[in-house]
């Protein structure tokens, strides 16, 4: 006997909201933010230790904090928030009931339990194996158990999302195709299922090995399969945060995609090509041939890069089109100047887009080149790159949409609106500077995951260039700025949820009038010259940076 689903109508959007779905979205999102706060604190400790003049933690605690920071932010925070987004993009956007909400609670409990166990084992101090946990370095068996439980929970959430799509279709809660944002979430979900399977394939034997039931795991094979999970899991984030970009463009500007076809095909490139491109983590690995590396990184990666470059045009493009329709038609950039820069939903989203593209995207593609990777592998350039993608990109986008979700789902007004306005700038720009200077220090050879760049206890002497120390100092300062931004986010959101004034259902933004035009792609389309100019600027920076790196490579030792 299934209870009849209960719905309410949202005062903001007019959407029909399923009660159980709403509860699950809230609990997953709140848990995500708690984890963000905890993981961010570990991040602060790591940053204060890598700041040469501060050098806060002793070595053992540093590696412990780094392991906890990596797992909590890269995996736990992102996935909890993505589960909330998947439920939102299915049940809420399709105005459907959520399939099997009871299983949603089971999934949630497994994820909390798994994350808790892994964190407990890391904090105990005998599982500082880093997020990558490369064998033959071994962690406590429960460390792997925690990750497996978390993964199983996330997998269940993925199937609930798919089930909800089936329910909505069957119960005809919408007509035609699913919305673009839901399509993006579906992309994230498909990649997540692939990723989690890959994780299970490697973590289960590793667990058996850690308890002595398997005698040996080949380190090279471990890495090949591990990165099948490790890289793709970051593509879940990308698919999800691009869906958030499209969602915010629609929510704030009433923007339509320039054309549904192009945006959706760009998502399809992720599904088809990105997993194989995980090989770009193995570019300086012995025992894998150049043929394998080039084959897997080139056709796979560059087609997925093409997908990202397309979104890089279509997301600001749809905003420009919507703004120009409203009359912001002067010059190339009036549409952008007159955008609501004081609204954290917009500023967070747009900073996320710019920083992700210019810093994360360009550096990622460049270091994914077999030969250039020789200069970058395992230097601090690598965390520089992925803080630009995951922190300045994904995390900032998730923060931005949270500012929208608090009034809609929790029915609360934001407290401290002034600080909320400042928050995306502090976090985004802090993270941007942080990433940029980490990349600089990496180019000068500073290692990642390293406690002492001065090598004080080493048997030999080596001194990095003074500029490397200066850059790591700037990294430390920028990290503190970003942490203040992150803390403000947690403060404003948690404070609003607990103490915010109840929203008097006032449809704040005038509901975007449904346009009679079928789509922007037809004869009445709006040209988007400003976006195109931005795209060309992006391409120019990309090409220059790419070839500068080849030139730099050509100046190092000859090797073959």
């Amino acid at each position: 006997m299934v209870a009849k689903p209960i719905f309410r109508t949202c005062g903001f959007t007019g959407l029909k909201i399923h009660d159980e779905a709403e509860k699950l979205i809230k609990i997953n999102a709140v848990t995500a933010i708690v984890v963000l706060a905890v993981g961010g604190l570990f991040g602060l400790l790591v940053a204060l230790t890598r700041w040469p003049t501060v050098h806060l933690l002793p070595a053992d605690l540093f590696y412990l904090a780094l392991t906890a920071h990596g797992i909590d932010i890269l995996i736990v925070w992102c996935i909890f928030f993505e589960v909330a987004l998947m439920y939102f993009a299915s049940a809420i956007l399709l105005q459907s009931r959520l399939a099997t909400p009871k299983m949603g609670w089971v999934a949630y409990a497994l994820m909390v339990l798994g994350a808790g166990i892994t964190n407990w084992k890391v904090l105990e101090g005998n599982s500082s194996v880093m997020m990558t946990s490369y064998v033959p370095m071994q962690a406590d068996p429960l460390f792997y158990v925690g990750l497996i439980l978390f993964a199983v929970g996330a997998l269940i959430a993925c199937f609930i999302f798919l089930g909800t799509l089936v329910v909505a279709k069957a119960e005809k809660t919408y007509e035609g195709s699913i919305p673009l944002v839901t399509f993006g979430a579906l992309t994230a979900c498909i990649i997540a299922i692939y990723t989690i399977s890959s994780g299970a394939i490697i973590l289960i034997p590793t667990f058996l090995w850690s308890v002595g039931l398997i005698s040996h795991i080949d380190p090279l094979m471990y890495k090949v399969v591990w990165w099948g999970m490790g890289h793709s899991s970051q593509q879940i984030n990308v698919a999800a945060h691009i869906a958030v970009w499209y969602a915010i463009a629609a929510i704030l500007f009433g923007a339509k995609p320039l054309s549904e076809k192009v945006s959706r095909c760009a998502y399809l490139t992720y599904i088809f090509f990105l997993q194989i491109a995980s090989a770009h983590h193995l570019l300086v690995e012995p025992g894998l041939s150049s043929a394998f590396k080039i084959f897997n990184t080139s056709y796979g990666m560059y087609l997925a890069v093409l997908g990202s470059m397309i979104h890089g045009l279509t997301v600001p493009g749809c905003i420009e089109a919507a703004q120009r329709k409203k009359g912001f038609n002067n010059g190339l950039f009036e549409w952008l100047r007159k955008a609501p820069w004081g609204n954290p939903i917009f500023s967070g989203m747009f900073l996320s887009l710019i920083l992700f593209g210019f810093l994360g995207g360009i550096s990622g593609v460049t270091m994914g080149v077999e030969q250039i990777n020789i200069m970058i592998h395992n230097t601090i350039y690598v965390p520089g790159h992925f803080h630009a993608t995951v922190a300045a990109g994904t995390t900032l986008a998730f923060m931005a949409i949270t500012y929208f979700l608090v009034p809609v789902l929790f029915g609360r007004e934001l407290i401290l609106p002034g600080l909320a306005k400042l928050q995306p700038y502090l976090f985004g720009l802090g993270m941007g500077v942080f990433s940029l200077f980490m990349m600089g220090a990496g180019t000068l050879g500073v290692s990642r995951r390293h406690w002492d760049m001065a090598f004080s206890d080493a048997p030999h002497a080596f001194a990095h260039a003074p500029a490397a120390f200066l850059m790591m100092g700037i990294v430390g300062v920028a990290a503190c700025v970003a942490v203040v931004g992150g803390a403000l986010f947690v403060l404003v959101i948690v404070g609003s949820v607990l103490f915010g004034k109840p929203v008097v259902h006032a449809p704040a933004a005038p509901a975007p009038a449904p346009s009679p035009v079928a789509s922007y792609g037809n004869a009445e389309h709006v040209a988007v010259p400003g976006t195109f100019a931005l795209a060309l600027l992006f391409l120019t920076v990309f090409v220059l940076y790419y070839f500068v790196n080849w030139k730099y490579l050509a100046s190092t030792w000859i090797m073959s």
Binding site: D60, L93, Y134, P136, E175, G176, S177, P179, L180, V181, P219, L220, A250, G254, K256, P257, S259, E260, V262, L283, V284, P286, G287, S290, I294, T297, S298, Y299, Y302, V305, M309, I310, L313, T314, C318, Q371, I374, H377, N378, T379, L444, S447, R449, H450, F455, D457, F462, H464, A518, S519, G521, N522, H525, V528, F532, A554, W557, I558, M559, S560
Partner: protein, 181 residues
């Protein structure tokens, strides 16, 4: 809108904006250029990953390193008294990683080529030659052979940049490159 179903039932038939077509073509062209660069560098460039690697038992590798050190040892260096080894140009030279040292110190001649063997006795380590900025992954059980030709003289630090436990940051070795006659 992006949060509502597309207005036409079959989204695949919707027309495409011209700017998008142009951008897709530009981006595709750029992707193809990048696609060509890696194979091209294998043909024309002089910095490429080695494809030579063998499975090897750690004790066998250690025996080879010991024999190599004994044959070409010219001194000791550092507070761990790491042997300094000066092998002839063009020969097979060895660098062994273990918790937490690089062994031995190599003395090479600028502009000469060497077949450098890299392997680990225990965990994974990262072979990072600084400031030349060459970073290779070192695995236990795999003997990786890279032909290197140092192009500058001086003392180069060998940093371990793959986390390998609590003493990771002390894992610093050395290659000395001396100018040839």
């Amino acid at each position: 809108m992006s949060i509502t179903p597309p207005e036409q039932k079959v989204w695949f038939n919707e027309p495409v904006e011209k700017t998008e077509v142009i951008w897709v073509l530009i981006a595709l062209t750029w992707a193809l250029i990048m696609f060509a660069m890696m194979p091209l560098w294998h043909l024309k460039g002089t910095q490429n990953m080695s494809n030579e690697a063998y499975r090897i038992q750690p004790d066998v590798y250690q025996a080879r390193v010991d024999a190599f050190v004994e044959k070409f040892k010219v001194g000791e260096e550092g507070h761990a008294k790491t042997p300094v080894v000066r092998p002839p140009a063009g020969s097979d030279v060895y660098m062994m990683a273990r918790l937490w040292e690089w062994y031995p110190v190599l003395e090479l001649e600028k502009g000469k080529s060497y077949r450098l063997h890299l392997s680990s006795l225990d965990w994974q380590h990262g072979f990072s030659v600084q400031p030349a900025n060459i970073n290779l992954q070192v695995h236990p059980g795999i003997d990786e052979v890279v032909t290197i030709t140092p192009t500058d003289s001086g003392d180069f630090g060998i940093i371990c940049n793959e986390y390998c436990g609590i003493g990771h940051h002390t894992m610093l070795g050395k290659i000395r490159v001396v100018a040839g006659k």
